[in-house]
Amino acid sequence: MTLISRRSLLQGIGLLLASTALPSFAFAQDLPQGGRLVVAADSEPRNLNPAMVASNGVFFVASKVIEPLAEADASAEDGLAPRLAVAWEGSSDGLSATFRLREGVTWHDGTPFTSADVAFSALEVWKPLQNLGRIVLANLEAVETPNELTAIFRFSKPTPFQLIRNALPVVTSVLPKHLYEGTDINANPHNAELVGTGPFKFAEYKPGEYYRLVRNEAYWGEGQPHLDEIIYRVLPDRAAAASALEAEEIHLAAFSAVPLADLARIAQVPGIKVISEGYEGLTYQLVVEINHRREELSNVDVRRAIAHAIDKQYVVDTIFLGYATAAAGLFPQNAPEFFNPEVPQYDFDVAKANELLDAAGYPRGENGVRFSLKLLPAPYFNETRQFGDYLRQALAEIGIDAQLVNNDSAAHQKAVYTDHDFDLAIAPPVFRNDPAISTTILVRSGAPEGTSFSNQGGYANAELDALIDQAAETVDTEERTQLYNELQVRVAEDLPLINVAEWGFITVARDTVINVGNNPRWAVSNWADVALQQ
């Protein structure tokens, strides 16, 4: 067997492409240098370390200081641009993955970056401590470092390289081993005073007021970064963020800090741009979670009736003011690698919904009500709460009386994910580039009690479980994608949950800010190419 398999040939090409320089270098010389970019921050994470807490709130600040092995890039091979790794390759048996690391990178304290840092981060931080790494790297056994610029991950079970690759931007923020080794990682002071390899160095944090990052003069990216400073100004009130933009006190508000209802007005203000690009890799999904322990809801026709009762386009137009897309399945359309357009759809059809309920044996009572349900909208977004009000009305149309229960986030978390004290809940899960990271757990049965943002409705379907498990170990990318395509069809047929809409956030910026929204995870990427017109 001396034939080179098609797969390893393709991987070779992938390596070549991945190792070529970033395309943005060509424009580097034309961009203005210097300046202080002031952006709005609406929260102050208690732990700013992205290697431990993979969340958008943390990445927003930390991704400029601490870099992952690779970052999302829609125009690059596999949608990935190199960062600390310049090339990557998975073995055909799925038992190892090799990363070639960037040469000549130093930490902000001057120590050279090596494969030992990657090995340490993977084994001591990502796998045991990080909320997402615990899932993705569950089978990671060892990391070999044959030389300073090579790290080889060894897995105990076949692990699809597609998953590892898709998880690189979120899971693999590398920490400096020399500052963490031998300390209590949870209590390390560098979880707040970050030390990384990124284009900006952590300078100062004034609680309640701002974070300040300054230019890393020794950054590996040629001519980068362009800004001298980034300041994250803490503005908890949304109206305050909009005023500060108008008064030119800040340059930029990301993550829809300016409420959707204000966008039309603020877009008219001279010098201000409304930008919806740059969130394709952080798609939020609006989902109706269903408690399958409830007899009526364990009937698939009742679930289908509910799906028919929801006017998705109305939700998109009225609640999201057009800044969203009607959902067409378990995976978002922004994930073309996995999205399968060939799945059953449930059109808005109240008559059909009523028919289904009648046929299922739930006739209307004297007051026109078939049965009552407890509906818990998640309080995290205005839109989830507003959709709760809408869903209540939509269900009333088909004779289901929904009692709204509005909780704060801690109470909602406990009611839905610990106590299962709900019939329907409205949740905004995030699709993180690969179904295995945080999406299949929404429908897989058997998660331990109290696992948050998982299948809390008690849905159990052995066929689906088998599909998910098979995909988790299928090394061949095409085959794995095929399995997920099938999963999507099965989910659409049996409706363990109902996907309603998909949305990204909106950035509002002064038009002096250059290169806003130019990659799929822009708000949480390193901003090395962001510049300020002087």
């Binding site: 002031v38 929260s43 102050e44 994470p45 208690r46 732990n47 807490v53 993979a54 969340s55 958008n56 709130g57 943390v58 909320n131 997402l132 615990r134 899932i135 949870n186 100062e204 004034k206 609680p207 309640g208 007021e209 701002y210 300040r212 400073e229 300041i231 100004r233 803490v234 503005l235 908890p236 009130d237 109206a239 305050a240 005023s243 500060a244 108008e246 008064a247 006190e249 995290y380 909780n407 704060d408 986030s409 801690a410 109470a411 909602h412 978390q413 406990k414 009611a415 610990t418 106590d419 995030v430 945080s438 998660a447 331990p448 009690e449 109290g450 696992t451 948050s452 943002f453 998982s454």
Partner: protein, 329 residues
């Protein structure tokens, strides 16, 4: 002076059970709310597996029974230890000390401004009850009082910060400006103009109304009629006889005002992004950070006790009868 010391001593001792009741009451009220700090934290990081949840609960002692947590908290409090904030991952005393000064600047200036202006306008109003001037001031103050503080704050911000750009929209000082000394003081003062105005305008109405009502009462008293029969000038009667006596209830108001430091500043601190005590309280609630919230409540209870003690002293000074009866009880 001796009676003043006795008053302080007695108040200090009686405040201990008050504080204990506040702590225990707050603890059980918070216990009644479903969910805890770990639930709130999981939401903020986008979830984790069950083992992580357990590990976090154990780390912060949230897996223990409510009674043993209360016991730990109270015994720590007796050692003047406010504990560790789950939501911010920092010592609570540090957080509170960091935020208190900003709220003091804000509330101190707003209270002083509304007290001085409100009392003065109250005298103007109460000097001739029923006059056109009096009626205009009454209507104006009622209208201001009816306006919600966040709305007034937003309007001021839109007009004077966004449109005219006379003042900054938000914050307590220019960020990372490196200003020091007098420059920094002036910078902070400039940032405080709008929030202090928003707060003061609302409290102003209260002082005006109380002052005016007090004066209306005193005009009817015999000694005022006697004074005017003696031929004392009207302005002297207004200031010396009427206003001075009407001031007592206004001082009481001032004391009550201190108790509303938290409530009043939460909204304004949020609208103007001032990292103060009120916003800390709001964040503690959002993060379900029970020890932090209790620390905040204990400290504000202490402040209220302190301010009321001061008010009583001022009272005793203004009206010696009060001090004597309080101290001999």
């Amino acid at each position: 002076m001796n009676s003043a010391l006795r008053l302080i001593g007695r108040r200090a001792i009686s405040s201990i059970p008050v504080l204990l009741i506040v702590v225990i009451g707050t603890f059980f009220l918070l216990e009644l709310a479903p969910g805890d700090a770990v639930d709130a934290y999981l939401v903020s990081i986008g979830g984790g597996d069950a083992a992580l949840t357990e590990q976090l609960r154990a780390q912060y002692g949230l897996d223990q029974s409510p009674l043993s947590r209360l016991w730990l908290y109270v015994t720590a409090l007796l050692r003047f230890d406010l504990g560790w904030s789950v939501g911010f991952n920092r010592p609570i005393s540090e957080l509170i000390l960091e935020r208190l000064p900003n709220t003091f600047y804000l509330m101190g200036s707003a209270t002083a401004l509304s007290f001085v202006l409100g009392t003065a306008l109250g005298i103007v109003s109460g000097a001739r009850i029923g006059s056109l001037r009096d009626r205009l001031l009454s209507i104006g103050s009622l209208a201001l009082y009816a306006v919600p503080s966040f709305w007034l704050g937003l309007v001021l911000s839109v007009v004077f910060a966004v449109q005219l750009r006379w003042f900054p929209t938000s914050g307590i000082e220019t960020i990372a400006s490196g200003k020091e000394g007098l420059d920094r003081v002036l910078d902070i003062a400039r940032h405080l103009v709008l929030p202090v105005s928003a707060l003061a305008m609302i409290y102003l109405a209260l002082f005006l109304r109380v002052m005016r009502a007090g004066m209306a009462e005193i005009w009817r008293q015999d000694f005022v009629r006697a004074a005017s029969a003696k031929g004392i000038s009207r302005s002297r009667i207004v200031l010396r006889h009427v206003a001075r006596n009407a001031l007592l209830p206004v001082v009481t108001m001032l004391g009550l005002q201190a108790a509303s430091i938290l409530g009043g500043s939460v909204v304004i601190e949020s609208v103007f992004a001032i990292p103060g005590f009120g916003r800390l309280a709001q964040e503690a609630v959002a993060l379900r950070d029970a020890p932090l919230l209790m620390g905040i409540i204990v400290v504000s209870a202490l402040l209220v006790i302190l301010v009321n003690m001061l008010v009583d002293l001022v009272y005793a000074f203004l009206d010696p009868r009060v001090g004597a009866s309080e101290a001999s009880r």
